[in-house]
Amino acid sequence: MKISRWYYVSLGIVYFFLLGPFLIIFAASFGAESTLSFPPRGFSLDWFANIFANDNFIRSFWTSLQLGLLSTFLSLLFGVPVAYALTHFDFKGAGLVETLFSLPILVPGLVIGLAMLNFFVLFGKFDMMMGLMAGHTAILFPYSVRVVSVALRNLDPAVEEAAVNLGANRLRTFLLIVLPNIRAGIAAAFILGFITSFNNVPVSVYLSAPGVNTLPIAMLSYMEYYFDPTIAALSTLLILFSLLLVQAAERVLGLSQFV
């Protein structure tokens, strides 16, 4: 059946609205003027050079990268066993466990950040990086548990039964048979977790200190003092990075079914 062209017009409007602003950032980041204006006048690559000359951006980028990788890894290390238990055993309190691990998504990030800061302060001095790591790992749990659970449910139980029948114990079966078979799900969880951590502001904003902050927090504080297109240039790079990552992940793993 033919779809009326008005539907396509509305899809066009949606794309224009979702992606148009990104094109405007790209254009603005090449402007020559030192205060941001649009349409940009002149052409310059200075703002891109400016990013790499700024210590705070470089340092916070490495912090964000480390934090993203480590907290995603931790959330999977703790989360995969939970997903396995939820999909393989019918135990008392399974519903409660599932609810508990979905809570960090229902509670606003800003509240989690404030709560953690207030709580950590109780114990006197604490390491900010550890605080960030704990906070990010906690907010990533829901993604890890859910995405890996989906992958485990989609796995044909016969595969596991065959291994067990041939004499492998549970751990061996898991490591040698189950894990390789759900690697797409693990990869999807990893990418989703990494992006979530890398882009997080509300939790990080409370757990930052001079010298320890993440890239988005460094961008926000730069914006308070400077109005030049450096942030536009940095945004251009970050948007292209997301675009590549999402395209690759969508093609290989079908990321949008897990979001």
Binding site: Y7, P21, F91, P108, N199
Partner: protein, 275 residues
């Protein structure tokens, strides 16, 4: 089996208990304690609901959430229908572009709206150039700016929810409606909309709760002039050093978000997927 389950679940439970549940409980307690004397008190809450400034901000937050949800529904419905009817391969490509705003650094995404709405931004320069205005209008730090920014952020969630609901509607149902004499719009409103109601409810809940708790967009596009709950919370804890006031706003925010989820669940007893 019990031992195996314990070994699997306990480490994660312990982690989430120490680093999530305890801090939240502590924050809840803080909101009821007088910061000086340590006595139980409701002053924080009474202040919040009696002071005009916080009343205005609370009502504004709910109103903006509702507005954004409605705009999202109108924009997303027809577009999701096209996406749901696309062949799988093309849909994958199309969806990966739809979810881009969700996956982008939030500061970068919001910065685009500063370039569009700023004093020397796209809209002001265009209107000045056409001679329609004489001096730049203030377009940021307005409710409109927040609505634009949050609509761009949450439209993907709405579309994802609707598309996954519409995928399951068989094409024959619609064809049947058409052959029985319904025109395109009637078929859409009477067949597609009711059959995708689950996705609509899920999407609307996500968009509403997301909008009333979002932080980056209101902080950049609303600033201190157009506060929402989240920016009020941040202001109280950092600038005003009003620790208890901040925890009260935090609790109001959690309770509102959870209440919306609960009400939706009660109105639709059928279990829907949780994000």
């Amino acid at each position: 089996m019990r031992r195996t389950v314990s070994i699997l679940v306990l480490p994660a439970l312990l982690f989430i208990f120490i680093f999530f549940v305890l801090p939240i409980l502590f924050l809840l307690a803080q909101s009821f304690l007088d910061p000086e004397t340590g006595q139980l008190t409701l002053t924080g809450y009474i202040d919040f609901f009696q002071k005009e400034t916080s009343q205005i901000i609370y009502v504004r937050t709910l109103r903006l959430g509702l507005t954004i949800t409605l705009i999202n529904i109108v924009l997303a419905y027809p577009a999701s229908y096209v996406l749901a009817r696309m062949p799988a391969r093309r849909r994958t490509m199309a969806m990966s572009l739809v979810i881009l705003p969700l996956m982008t650094n939030p500061v970068a995404r919001t910065y685009a709206w500063l370039i569009i709405l700023g004093r020397t931004g796209l809209i002001n320069n265009t209107l000045l150039g056409l001679g329609l205005i004489e001096r730049p209008e203030r377009l940021i730090y307005t409710e409109g700016a927040i609505i634009l920014g949050l609509t761009q952020l949450f439209l993907p969630l709405m579309i994802l929810s609707l598309v996954s609901a519409m995928e399951n509607i068989p094409k024959d149902v619609e064809q049947a409606a058409r052959s029985l004499g319904a025109n395109g719009i009637t078929a859409f409103l009477r067949v597609i909309v009711p059959l995708s109601a689950d996705g609509l409810v899920l999407g609307a809940t996500l968009v509403f709760t997301g909008s009333i708790t979002a932080y980056v967009t209101p902080v950049i596009l609303g600033g201190n002039r157009m506060l929402m709950l989240s920016t009020l919370l941040r202001q109280r804890s950092m600038m005003a050093f009003d620790e208890q006031g901040a925890t009260v706003v935090a609790v109001v925010m959690i309770v509102t978000a959870l209440a919306v989820n609960l009400i939706v669940r009660m109105l639709r007893p059928k279990p829907t997927a949780q994000r």
